[in-house]
């Protein structure tokens, strides 16, 4: 499984044709196919290419919605 640092993850911001990846709980998910992550933005609040572990605690949904998408790697320390 591919390993991403936070700096590497930032490349996958969903813009200009790049995939939309986000990290949660140490896993990196590919949300490129999600209607709700078009253009790498989600609900006016979140951007792809980021670790959303903390942000998801405030979200009106749990990790179960992320789990519908493929895991493409894991997030590691810089």
């Amino acid at each position: 499984m591919k390993r991403f640092t936070c700096a590497e993850l930032r490349y996958y911001d969903g813009k200009e044709g790049r995939p939309a990846y986000v990290a949660f709980g140490g896993k990196v998910y590919d949300l490129s196919s999600s209607f709700l992550w078009r253009g790498g933005r989600h609900q006016a609040l979140h951007s792809a290419g980021e670790d959303l572990t903390e942000a998801l605690r405030e979200a009106p949904h749990g990790a179960e919605l992320l789990e519908r998408f493929p895991v493409v790697g894991e997030l590691v320390e810089e």
């Binding site: 209607f35 709700l36 078009r38 609900q43 006016a44 609040l45 405030e58 979200a59 009106p60 949904h61």
Partner: protein, 183 residues
Amino acid sequence: MARVAREMVEKTGINVDQLVELLVKNAAAELTTYYYYTILRCNLIGLDGETIKEIAEVARIEDRNHFEALVPRIYELGGSLPKDMKAFHDISGCPPAYLPAKIETVEDILKVLVEAERCAVRQYTYICNLTAGKDHRTYDLALSILHEEIEHESWFSESLGEGPSGHFMRRGETSPFVSKFLK
């Protein structure tokens, strides 16, 4: 724009541009749901489908009412709707409630309906959390819509056999909570 009304919200620390974007996304979700529910309702046929059709119709009309109720608040806060309907569709806060490619039972349509309502419940819960105690007018609007979305979810959830919710189908006028914003 209602300048002072916007200033009052800004003073609470809410990012008003972000809030307006959320309201526009939800207005898009409501109007597109109204459209997609039209197709879903048309396909609720047969003995099982007919039992759901009237409920789906009430949810469809109430979702259109939610769109109508949201629009003034968007403009009061200095926002606007996109001029391009296609762009409006694509920024929706909820995925399109497409007619399933293959319909074997009414449950296939009910699953689309309940998922759409669950998305709406999440959306308005979030807006209520964001605005509670700060932006009273948006909170009141989002809470009123939330009341109706939760009832919609309950109707479809019960029809899917997920258990009782204590709700009954709408009696009397549609949008009992949101109608005060439509007068």
